[in-house]
């Protein structure tokens, strides 16, 4: 038995490989034909080979609830996702534009607050933001950049147009899986690389290191860059270790660092050694027990003091999360116009703000059609999927929204595009999204493509790996010139 694309039906959704049953999109023709040429046993063998490679390479993530077996193999689908370079070019420009504006916004909010004074963004939103850090007011990080590493979630609607679902400006993860997915595909489907011009992605860790080195407060040829991890029990520990290894940076835990005379040092076998740049993968509230959660053992006492004195760079800067808020998100198009004087290249998903009385009324009346999101959660937690929720759940959410309208926004259930996933009996459509990574320091860099996340359950929209989602290698493909 082989894959028969004629029986593959994505329905009303935009499928990224198959336009309509039996017809592949132009960019995917070679791939679709190749997959259909393999017998099911051969496909299953490749799938098993990928699983083995992932196991042997130790590509894992951690699940909190499973005691005993703390790291789990990374779920991966072997059929790559194809996006043409033409489509990608403008998306990539849009991502750059967006991060520039977001960084202008964060810097403004902690300094002059012009955008609030001009009433483009309501001052009340900032005053009530859970991610606004008073401690950061007046801080001027190098290049005025606060969010150095951004992971923006994109989805495609039924026309295939990209929309921004959210910007992750705190500690976005997934980039290591993007890089490892490519490696696995190279092992499993080496022959496909002959027929496609695929933009390489390996440059990321070099770009990341250069960006981090550029924000060092000391003018040195070789600044000491470290990655700060909460430790081996964190769900993204694999990634922390992976990035440290690829950059040749030390992977440190809070206990390895100490602040003396407002400078940060790490404890080494040679004694204390000065640290210039910290790529921190722990949340603001755990960074420094002297300033935030006093009982946090993950952070470093005095770290904020050292940062505020300008003796160490933190990426992302504390407080950058103020713009990583699903309510602030709705103002990003306005920010782009305000700071850059440009039209937004990428569109937001249409959204309703519960803080606005009229919009809130609409939301409450249409809970069965909307997706309601809290302003400050990530990883898909605390959401209401209106159409699938029970009456009781909707009532509970209505209560929560009325109690704290600032904390909620709602979006219509936007249909995610699909792509074929290899199941036991061939290919089936599953919903996917895309998380590209954008770096900003002196310059700005966007990964070609990003991490494609897959909802492995039929019909499901939940792509988070913490909730059983999978992933795909993502190819940005240059069309042949003829």
């Amino acid at each position: 038995m082989r894959i028969d694309w004629k029986t593959y039906d994505p329905g009303a959704f935009y499928d990224e490989l198959i336009r309509s049953p039996g017809h592949a999109r132009k960019s995917g023709r070679i791939l679709a034909r190749y997959l259909a040429s393999l017998k099911n046993e051969e496909l299953q063998q490749r799938k098993t080979a990928a699983e083995l490679a992932i196991k042997a390479m130790g590509i894992s993530f951690t699940v909190y609830s499973e005691a005993g077996n703390i790291d789990r193999e990374w779920p991966f689908d072997i059929i790559p996702r194809i996006i043409t370079e033409t489509q990608w070019r403008s998306t990539s420009k849009g991502l750059e534009q967006r991060l520039r504006a977001l960084n202008c916004f964060i810097h403004d909010v902690y300094n002059d607050q012009k955008i609030l004074k001009d009433k483009v963004v309501p001052a009340e939103l900032i005053a009530k933001s859970a991610n606004f850090r008073n401690e950061c007011v007046g801080m001027k990080p190098r290049f005025d950049v606060w969010a150095h590493i951004c992971g923006t979630d994109l989805i495609r609607d039924t026309n295939g147009q990209f929309y921004v679902l959210e910007d992750n400006l705190r500690v976005p993860s997934g980039v290591s899986y993007m890089l490892e997915n490519r490696k696995v595909t190279k092992r499993v489907f080496p022959e496909l690389f002959e027929n496609y011009n695929i933009l390489p992605i390996t440059e990321y860790t070099t770009q990341l290191f250069d960006m981090l080195a550029a924000i060092s407060p000391r003018p040195l040829d070789y600044p000491e860059v470290v990655v700060l991890t909460p430790g081996i029990y964190n769900s993204a520990y694999f990634e922390h270790s992976f990035l440290a290894q690829r950059m040749g940076a030390e992977l440190v835990e809070g206990g390895d660092l100490v602040v003396e005379d407002d400078c940060v040092y790490m404890r080494t076998i040679n004694g204390l050694s000065r640290v210039d740049v910290i790529y921190r993968r722990i949340d603001d509230m755990f960074l420094d027990p002297q300033v935030f959660h006093p009982d946090s053992v993950l952070g470093v006492p005095g770290l904020m003091r050292a940062w505020l004195k300008g003796n160490v760079a933190l990426a992302n800067a504390p407080g950058a999360g103020v713009a990583d808020d699903k309510v602030i998100y709705t103002y990003v198009p306005a920010m782009i116009k305000y700071y850059l004087g440009e039209e937004p290249i990428l569109e937001n998903v249409p959204s309703y703000l519960c803080i606005d009385e009229k919009q809130c009324k609409y939301v409450l009346e249409n809970l069965d059609k909307l997706v309601v999101k809290p302003a400050n959660e990530s990883g898909g937690y605390g959401m209401l999927m209106g159409p699938q929720a029970s009456k009781k759940e909707r009532e509970e959410f209505a209560r929560r929204i009325k109690a704290n309208p600032r904390n909620y926004m709602a979006q219509p259930l936007i249909s995610l595009s699909t792509a074929p996933v290899l199941g036991e009996r061939g290919a089936e459509p599953r919903h996917i999204d895309l998380r590209p990574f954008i770096l900003q320091g002196r310059d700005i860099y966007v990964t070609p493509g990003g991490l494609t996340r897959v909802a492995m359950v039929k019909g499901s929209y939940v792509v988070n790996s913490s909730q059983g989602g999978g992933s795909k290698d993502t190819w940005i493909v240059t069309e042949e010139e003829r």
Partner: protein, 322 residues
């Protein structure tokens, strides 16, 4: 190099060496016990004695029969010094130092652990045991080779070698100890007098074999296998890589390359003096027990000093067993 990372990589080295040594030991004893005369009181309990885990064993198993002892030392994860536990700890330490060690080495350690986890319980049966243990030994050797060939010979590599040398010296003293204890008059009682000499010979050969030392010993010592020469060879030979003196010399040279090494070197010099100055014929007459105990305590002192100098004051989250 971070103190915490140095500590983990050190334990990685110790656990890998421990797993390999234990595999050798099981292999040799499994063969030896087939040859012993009936009535000899040496038995599987000897292996438990070597690893110093008598109490843990007695807690869980009723009698030191073959199946229980092999299970205890090979696949029982509640025993911290079983091969599977050692490999699991080695993997955990490797997983948490992946940014430092070559990724090929990590992949091999990960593979070895997955292999052992899958197959360890099969080794309880005699048939597949030999092959299984050999595979584990070969795998450990391959990993050691990968470190030597793909890792910069920097502080991290030094800590692996320090750990390996210390673990080796320690294991060698334990094996020598057992050889001498086995031959105490009480234990040979059940053996008929005409069998005593071949019996003694067999035991010392097993001691050599469990350290892969038989061949090298024969090349070096021209006389027939006898207790005095074997103990001298395993304690004092400068060239055999698993002898105590050789391991200590390696340990010393690795320590030389590290900063603030004064205190650790003093402790190493003390063990070296004890090993070099030992009057072995005299010790064999009086019984080696007290001497070996003192030697092991001094080896533990070296470990304590290494911890104090390079790993503290970082409080490590994990419990490691020395």
């Amino acid at each position: 190099m971070l103190s915490r990372v140095a500590e983990r990589i050190y334990w990685l080295g110790r656990y890998l060496e421990r797993a390999e040594n234990t595999a050798r030991l099981l292999n040799v004893y499994s063969t030896l016990l087939l040859d012993l005369p009936r009535g000899a009181k040496i038995g599987w309990h000897t292996l438990v004695d070597i690893t110093g885990s008598h109490a843990e064993f007695a807690d869980k198993y009723q009698a030191p029969d073959e199946r229980s002892v092999i299970r205890f030392l090979l696949s029982d994860t509640s025993n911290y010094s079983s091969i599977l536990s050692s490999l699991s700890m080695a993997r955990e330490n490797a997983r948490t130092t992946r940014e430092i060690i070559p990724s090929e080495a990590w992949e091999q350690i990960n593979n070895l652990y997955l292999f052992a986890k899958e197959n360890a319980s099969k080794g309880v049966a005699r048939g597949p045991r030999h092959h299984l243990l050999n595979q584990i030994i070969a795998h450990c050797q391959q990993i050691a080779g990968l470190f030597a060939g793909t890792m910069s010979h920097n502080s991290g590599y030094n800590f692996i070698r320090i750990a390996r040398s210390l673990e080796r010296a320690d294991m060698t003293t334990r094996i020598v100890d057992v050889g001498s204890v086995t031959l105490l008059p009480g234990l040979t009682q059940g053996v008929k007098s005409e069998q005593i000499e071949p019996f003694e010979n067999m035991i010392w050969m097993a001691v050599l074999n469990s350290l892969s030392a038989y061949q090298m010993y024969r090349q070096h010592v021209l006389d027939r296998v006898n207790g005095e020469d074997v103990v001298t060879f395993l304690l004092q030979d400068r060239q055999f890589p698993r002898s105590v003196v050789h391991s200590l010399a390696k340990l010393e040279s690795c320590l030389q390359a590290l900063p603030n090494n004064g205190a650790a070197l003093v402790e190493v010099a003390r063990v070296q003096a004890m090993a070099n100055d030992a009057d072995i014929p005299l010790l064999l007459q009086q019984g080696l027990l007290a001497y070996i105990d003192a030697l092991q305590i001094q080896i533990a002192e070296v470990h304590a000093r290494i911890t104090q100098t390079w790993f503290l004051p970082v409080v490590s989250g994990q419990q490691q067993s020395a």
